[in-house]
Structures are given as structure tokens and as C-alpha cells.
């Protein structure tokens, strides 16, 4: 297994401005395929180099700036796609992946799209398809820097809530009304919409602001430990109780207890919470004496609690105790221009954290961010901007700094299977995948959007290998 020859001096990042100067790395392609590809890519005056396998590809990728990796997927194409998505993340120049597969399935094509693969082509490779995919790599398109939107600290305010959309304005007004009281509040909204931020804002502007803000994520804690986290335990109460532990209700004394993802709590524990709220006292696990509590309770859920009540998974009496006031948070996609404000806010925040002065986003980056579906709402946006800032040097965040999942929109995978136009089945599968992503994988919700029975949807998911 000899090492590959020493790398030639790679061109400077960003130097490749047109498809004619694309640098391609072919990995694990057999002799006949290499023989076919070489003249085709030469037509684009691209530079191409072939290496035998993954280990050698890793060395070559580290040694220079590459625009595209061409590879054949093996016996486990799904795993191969994941491997490449991880291997190419954060590489200089963010090379795009063009994968070749024997008889690619619909499921594989969709997986490739989800992972941001630039293109998936069926073997044997056809010249026109490959050239079309290479031309779409997009090196020819220039990007124009757009300065960051102004988000001075006072905009974020002491609540750290960013946004000026009408939907958020309503949220701010409700917070302002409810905060001064000690009323129990239920915050509802999809994952990543900022429920804890709202809870902190209510606490910070309420009568118990001088007390502690104690948060507990009910979905994160193992079921068998949740009770002791909430109420505490005495030493030796159970096998893992190595010392006496003070629970969150007691820790929040004189302040606010925030119970996040409360729908994940078991019914017996819900009964204990109800008792604590009603009687204003708790008992530690393994302890006999009641302990008085003095806390403001704020609960949150990313599920619709009324549905959970109907399904018998959430106590109605507890719901009415918690939902004295309900704050509903909008999805990021319903917040209009807040997206660019939030993106700027996070770019500054992570720029400071990683010691990089980010001055703006390119116009195409902003287009891609706007086009994305943001299933994870603000949390997903924050994550994407953090990754981009880590990869970017400084200055403007370009498309190449974005994760592949976002860049997937850049080069559509249309024509993946056979020719330019999709078959009805392909279009259906792709649409189902998008609706599922939009519904956060909830089959019931996706079936409602699609207007079909959930059993039909389940069958189609299986049929298309989604």
C-alpha cells in the first residue's frame, strides 16, 4: 500500500472562478470508468486526479483545495453517503460530492438530497449527466457581500429575544402583560422556537426576579430519575442515591421553576406535580416530611397538550393548572425578516466567541438561508451559523461555508434518476419527504398536511424507502 505521490501545489481557495478551473478528485473508480471520465471532464478544462481508495482520498483532500469529489457508492450506499458527508464537512473549499451508484433507489436519491450531496448519478455514467452536474457546481456564479443587519445589544434586550416581526411583537406584548404576576404560564411552540428564552424573560421581569431561575428538561432525564431530580431524595433512598439530594422544586425557592418538554412526563409523575402545585409542598424520595415550596412555575411543550389529553397521555387537571396563561411561539418560517436579523445576531455572537470578525453574508448565502425549511427553527439557524463561522476565515460568510444540508438547495437533484423530468412516483416520494421533514417526522401531522390516511402514508414511506 504505497503512499500516493506528493501533492502538487494547490491553487488558492476561491481562485476557481469558472467551471473550467474545477479541480476534481475521483475516488475508488475502476479503470474503465476512469478511462471514460477523463476525456469528458477535459471538455470542461477541469483538472482531475484519481486515487484508489478512501484512505488515499483523505490525504489528498487534506493536501489541497478541491471543488468536487467523484466516487462510486459501495454495497452500503447509505452508509457511504453519510461517511462522505462527514468527511467533506469543513474541508478547505467545501468540495461537493457527486456519487455514482448501481441502480440507485428512490430512497437513496432522497437520502442524498437530505445530506446535501451535489448529485447522484446512475451507473453506467452518461456524459451529458456528468457534465450537467459539474456545470451546476456553481463556481461561475459570483457572490456579492451584504453587510450584517444591525442588531445592537439593545435590540436583543435583556430578554435576548431577537426579532421585529408582527408575530414576535405579539409575543413581546403578552410577556409584558404576564410577567408582573406570579401566574403559572404554559409556553407552547415547535422545537427551537425559544421557549426557554421566553421563560427566562418572564422570570427576569416578574416579582421573583431576585430569586433563582431553575430549569429542568423533563425529556432529557431518564424516567426513573426524574422524580428525584424534581423532588430530591434522601441518602440511600435507592441504589444510586449516594448522598442526599435537593430537588429542583427546593432549589427554585423564591424564584422560578421552568419545566421544559413537560409532555414527556409519565402519568404517575404528573399526579405528583399536580399535588405539588395544588398543595404547595413536596416530599423528597425516601423522605417522609412535607417540605413547603415557594416557586413560580413555567411549563413548556413542543407538543400540543390538548392532543395528549385526548390520547390519555396528559392529565387534564394538570393542564388547566399549568395553562393559566398560554404563550404560543411562532415558527421561524412565520417570522419573515427576523431570519436575517437572527442570522446577523448569531454571526456576531459566534464571531466574538471564535475570534473572527464576520462582516456580512453573501447574497447567495442569504438566499439559501431564506429558502431552507428550518424544521429546527431558531436553534437550527443558530447551529448553521455557528458551523459557518467556524469554517469561514473572517469577513463574508459564503455559500461554501454553509453545511451541505443547506447547500443541497443550490444544486437541485432533479434528473437524478433518469433524464430531466421526474416520474410521478419520484415527485410523490420527494414531496412526501419534504412534508415529513416539515412535520418533524410526525407521521400523523404529515398525513394531515398531505390529506391522506396515516396508514396510506406509512405504506408509501415503506414503499419509497424513506
Amino acid at each position: 500500500m504505497p503512499n500516493p505521490p506528493a501533492p502538487k501545489a494547490p491553487p488558492a481557495p476561491g481562485a476557481a472562478e469558472s467551471p473550467s478551473s474545477l479541480r476534481l478528485l475521483g475516488v475508488g473508480l475502476d479503470g474503465p470508468l476512469t478511462h471514460s471520465l477523463r476525456p469528458w471532464v477535459m471538455e470542461l478544462q477541469a483538472q482531475v486526479e484519481f486515487v484508489a481508495d478512501l484512505p488515499h482520498a483523505v490525504r489528498r483532500l487534506a493536501a489541497g483545495h478541491w471543488d468536487v469529489v467523484l466516487t462510486v457508492l459501495g454495497e452500503h450506499p447509505d452508509e457511504d453517503l453519510h461517511w462522505w458527508a462527514n468527511a467533506l464537512r469543513g474541508r478547505p473549499g467545501a468540495p461537493r460530492l457527486i456519487a455514482f451508484a448501481h441502480r440507485p433507489s428512490m430512497g437513496l436519491a432522497l437520502r442524498a438530497e437530505q445530506l446535501g450531496t451535489h448529485d447522484l448519478l446512475a451507473l453506467p455514467v452518461r456524459r451529458e449527466e456528468l457534465l450537467r452536474a459539474l456545470r451546476r457546481v456553481g463556481r461561475g456564479t459570483s457572490e456579492v457581500a451584504v453587510p450584517l443587519e444591525a442588531t445592537a445589544d439593545e435590540d436583543a434586550g435583556r430578554y435576548a429575544l431577537v426579532g421585529q416581526s408582527p408575530a414576535m411583537l405579539e409575543v413581546y406584548k403578552l410577556i409584558a402583560r404576564v410577567a408582573p404576576s406570579t401566574a403559572t404560564v404554559l409556553v407552547q411552540g415547535e422545537s427551537g422556537t425559544g421557549k426557554e428564552v421566553v421563560a427566562r424573560a418572564i422570570h427576569a421581569n416578574g416579582p421573583k426576579a431576585s430569586g433563582p431561575f431553575v430549569a429542568l428538561n423533563c425529556a432529557a432525564i431518564p424516567e426513573n430519575l426524574l422524580e428525584s431530580e424534581l423532588f430530591g431524595h434522601e441518602k440511600g433512598a435507592f441504589s444510586g442515591a449516594v448522598t442526599r439530594k435537593i430537588g429542583r422544586f427546593e432549589l427554585a425557592k423564591g424564584g422560578t421553576l421552568f419545566l421544559d418538554e413537560i409532555a414527556d412526563m409519565t402519568l404517575p409523575l404528573q399526579a405528583k406535580i399536580l399535588r405539588a402545585v395544588q398543595e404547595r409542598e413536596i416530599e423528597r424520595v425516601g423522605g417522609g416530611d412535607p417540605i413547603p415550596i415557594d416557586v413560580r412555575l413555567i411549563a413548556a411543550s413542543n407538543r400540543e397538550l390538548r392532543d395528549a389529553i385526548q390520547q390519555g397521555r396528559f392529565r387534564e387537571d394538570l393542564y388547566y393548572r399549568l395553562a393559566v396563561v398560554i404563550v404560543r411561539l411562532p415558527r421561524l418560517s412565520d417570522r419573515g425578516n427576523d431570519l436575517t436579523l437572527l442570522a446577523a445576531y448569531f454571526a456576531r455572537q459566534f464571531g466574538a466567541q471564535y475570534g473572527k470578525e464576520v462582516t456580512g453574508f453573501s447574497d447567495r448565502t442569504l438566499e439559501l438561508l431564506t429558502a431552507h425549511r428550518w424544521v429546527g427553527n431558531v436553534r437550527e439557524l443558530r447551529n448553521v451559523i455557528e458551523q459557518a463561522v467556524i469554517v469561514a476565515d473572517a469577513g463574508t460568510v459564503l455559500v461554501e461555508h454553509l453545511p451541505d444540508e443547506i447547500r443541497g438547495h443550490e444544486g437541485s437533484l432533479s434528473g437524478t434518476m433518469a433524464g430531466e423530468l421526474a416520474t410521478l412516483a419520484e415527485a410523490e416520494a420527494r414531496h412526501i419527504a419534504r412534508v415529513l421533514a416539515h412535520a418533524g417526522g410526525q407521521i400523523g401531522a404529515a398525513a394531515t398536511i398531505l390529506g391522506i390516511h396515516r396508514n396510506t402514508l406509512t405504506r408509501k414511506i415503506r414503499e419509497y424507502g424513506l
Binding site: L54, S191, G376, G444
Partner: protein, 428 residues
């Protein structure tokens, strides 16, 4: 909206703790899935195996495959036994020993170490009757290796010493190399680095005279680990180069992956971050080429540690989540314990109190899988340090004392000294 999926934590509670159900337990784990979009929920950063979803329909679909595998496994064991009986009936114990050894290997492969040990012990008794001592050498080596993995160091040393004596008497240089490597690793586990070096050197000489390239590569690799622990990175890199030459010569992709990972460790320690990252990545690629998920998972964990050392928390978490995925898909329980232990350390560094869920998950995994005391000791030590970092000295002390008791019983001097220092720090 639909409700949450049935969770692994609840599914496993429903499964009685019976040995016969171990494969079903493994299937529940391997088929579990994180709920779609779960990573964006506020509980996303704390997702553990227990919080993944289980779909009974999926389990039922995979059941036939699993039963077929169990049947195949049992078939190998039963046939091995009958083969052994037939050989004995024919008055030829050598094939009987080979059959019993085969059964042991078949148990050891999927990590059923205690069961493997029982087969080897039966084989050893029978091997005593043979004229040819080579099977006995092989069995003793296997028993030594198992004892070491299970933390029975003294017992392991006895097996390797017998293995060495026999191999020397038989002029079996490969056997000598195997025994010396085992004795070296036991010395290293107990922090006796000079002793480990002597054993490895002696083993290397034997392997070289046997022209056993696989063992030569392994022993250079082990020598490099001694250099590394003794603070001589230059010597470690030299030994790793030698190891690489040997494994490359026999096209041992898995061996090369391990050597590159070790090279990454040394380069990381030297502060050569780019070189280290490249070595780990190349190691991963070789592990993938060798279809060795356990090695791939081990390298991902080391890559995560490398990022953690450099305060690159985001990257460390990404690698740990990949390692978690690999460990779950391939039922690598011990690796999963490592993943969650490190995830807990990461959250501790971020001063995130909820990070305790990772330690609790790791403890639960230790409870339901084959016991490896040294891994358990490290887990409790990390948990103690996590509690200490987050300002709970009493809990910290309790966990560290638990770790100390485990390392004391094992005689792992190096780890024991570390725990003593941690306890002193808390007391101070």
C-alpha cells in the same frame, strides 16, 4: 400531533434480565432510532440510547434474521461439541481440542467473554493430554487475553506465564511473542511501564525470528504506547513507523487504522493539531475499508477527545454522536459506555449540570452488559470529576471512592494514583 415513540428505556425495563434474552436486548438497541427532528428539541443535546424510539413492528420484522443468527450460533456450538465427542470416541483428542477452541472463538467474537472462557477452560483440560503442546499454548494465550479484558490481572498473568514457558519449551516463537505481548499489556495496565517495555521487546525479538509480521506490527505499536506514556513522543513515532511498515506489508487495513490512531494521539500530544487530525481521519478511512466498526468507533472517540482537549466542543460533540451511532448500530456496548462517559465530560466542561444523564446512561449500560471493571472504574472517576466541577463535592467523593475501590481490586496502579489525586483535590 402524534405522541412520542415508545422509548428504549421503557422497552428494556419490560425485558426480564435473563441471559437467553440477551440477543433480543441487543436487537432492541440496534433497531432503535432517534425520533425525527429530535436533535432540534431542547432535550436534543442530552439524547441518549434510552431516549431513542423503539418500533415493535421493526423488531418483529428483524426477528426472523435474529433467530436465524442465534440458530447458526447454537449450531456452531452444538456441532463443535459433537465433533469433540466423535474425536474422543475415535481416540483422537487433538480434533476435540480444536473443536472446543472453535466454540470458544465463536463465543468470543460477539463479546460473550464469560461463555468463551468456559469453553477455553474445558479445551485446556483436554489439551493437557496432547503430545502436541501448540493447542495448549493457543488456549492459554486466549485465556490470558480474556482475563486481562475482564480485569482479572493476576489470573491473566498466570495464563500468560504458562503460555510463555510452554512456547519456549516448544520453540514456538509466535507463542512466545503472544505471551510476552500479553504480559506487557498486563504490566502496562498496572502502570509498570519499564516492565511492559521489557516484555514487549522480548516479544518483538521472538516475533521477528518467527517472521510474524502481524505480531511485529502489534508489538511496535505497544512499544510506542510505552514511549508515549513515558513522555518520549519522538521514540513513539519511530516505533509507530515500524509498526506501519509491518502492517502495510501484510495489507492489514485494520492494523493500519489502529497505528494511525496511535500516531494521532502522539501528534496531538505534541501540539501538531493538523497532523493529528489527518492521522485520525486516515485511520478512519482504513477502518472503513477494513469494515471494522469497532475500530472506527474507537478512533471517533479518540478524535472527540482530541477536539475536547483543544476546547473544540462543537467538533467533539459531532464525533461523539457519530461514534454513538456506530456503536448502537453494531451493538458495541463497551464503546457506547465510553461515548457516554466522554459526552458527560464534555457537558461538564460546558458547566452543564444536565450532563449527568450521560453518566447515568453509561452506568445503566454497564449493568446490563458484560462487566468490564476497568471501564466501570473510569466511568465512576469521570462522574466524580463531573460532580466536582459542578460544585457537588459530596457526590464527587462518593463516585471517586467507588472508582478507587474498583481500581484497588484490579491493581491498576496508574488509575489508582489518578483517583487519589482527584480525591485530594476535592479535600483541599
Amino acid at each position: 400531533m402524534t405522541g412520542p415513540a415508545l422509548r428504549v428505556e421503557r422497552a428494556l425495563r419490560l425485558l426480564p434480565d435473563l441471559e437467553a434474552l440477551t440477543p433480543l436486548r441487543a436487537l432492541v438497541v440496534a433497531t432503535s432510532r432517534a425520533e425525527a427532528g429530535a436533535q432540534w428539541a431542547s432535550s436534543g443535546p442530552y439524547l441518549t440510547l434510552g431516549k431513542r424510539g423503539v418500533e415493535p413492528g421493526q423488531l418483529r420484522r428483524r426477528l426472523d434474521d435474529m433467530l436465524e443468527q442465534i440458530s447458526e450460533h447454537l449450531s456452531v456450538l452444538y456441532h463443535a461439541y459433537i465433533d469433540a465427542l466423535e474425536a474422543l470416541a475415535a481416540g483422537d483428542p487433538a480434533p476435540a481440542v480444536a473443536a472446543l477452541l472453535r466454540a470458544g472463538r465463536s463465543e468470543e467474537g460477539p463479546g460473550r467473554l464469560s461463555q468463551a472462557r468456559v469453553w477455553y477452560e474445558v479445551a485446556l483440560k483436554l489439551a493437557d493430554e496432547l503430545q502436541d503442546r501448540r493447542p495448549e499454548i493457543e488456549i492459554l494465550g486466549s485465556l490470558g487475553r480474556l482475563a486481562r479484558t475482564q480485569g482479572h490481572f493476576q489470573q491473566g498473568a498466570r495464563y500468560f506465564q504458562r503460555c510463555l514457558a510452554l512456547a519456549e519449551a516448544e520453540f514456538d516463537q509466535s507463542g512466545v511473542a503472544e505471551a510476552c505481548a500479553g504480559l506487557g499489556s498486563l504490566a502496562a495496565a498496572q502502570g509498570q511501564w519499564a516492565g511492559a517495555r521489557s516484555w514487549y521487546r522480548r516479544g518483538l525479538t521472538a516475533a521477528q525470528s518467527a517472521r510474524d509480521l502481524k505480531r511485529i506490527g502489534h508489538l511496535y505499536h505497544r512499544l510506542a504506547s510505552v514511549d508515549f506514556h513515558e513522555g518520549d513522543p519522538a521514540a513513539a513515532l519511530e516505533n509507530l513507523q515500524e509498526a506501519r511498515r509491518s502492517v502495510e506489508a501484510i495489507q492489514d487495513a485494520e492494523g493500519l487504522a489502529r497505528v494511525l490512531a496511535a500516531q494521532g494521539d502522539v501528534e496531538s500530544e505534541q501540539g501538531h493539531a493538523d497532523a493529528a487530525a489527518l492521522s485520525y481521519r486516515e485511520g478512519l478511512a482504513w477502518a472503513r475499508r477494513a469494515s471494522a466498526p469497532a475500530v472506527e468507533c474507537a478512533i471517533l472517540i479518540r478524535l472527540a477527545e482530541f477536539h475536547l482537549k483543544g476546547d473544540r466542543f462543537h467538533e467533539a460533540e459531532e464525533e461523539l454522536r457519530r461514534a454513538e451511532q456506530t456503536a448502537i448500530a453494531h451493538t458495541l456496548s463497551r464503546r457506547l459506555v465510553q461515548v457516554y462517559t466522554l459526552m458527560g465530560r464534555l457537558r461538564g466542561r460546558q458547566k452543564d449540570e444536565t450532563g449527568f444523564v450521560f453518566f447515568e446512561q453509561a452506568i445503566e449500560l454497564c449493568r446490563v452488559t458484560e462487566r468490564v471493571p476497568s471501564a466501570e472504574g473510569r466511568l465512576y472517576r469521570e462522574y466524580g470529576n463531573f460532580r466536582s466541577l459542578l460544585g457537588s463535592p459530596d457526590e464527587a467523593r462518593a463516585y471517586l471512592e467507588k472508582a478507587r475501590a474498583i481500581f484497588e481490586s484490579l491493581g491498576e496502579t496508574g488509575e489508582l494514583e489518578g483517583v487519589e489525586a482527584d480525591l485530594e483535590r476535592i479535600a483541599g
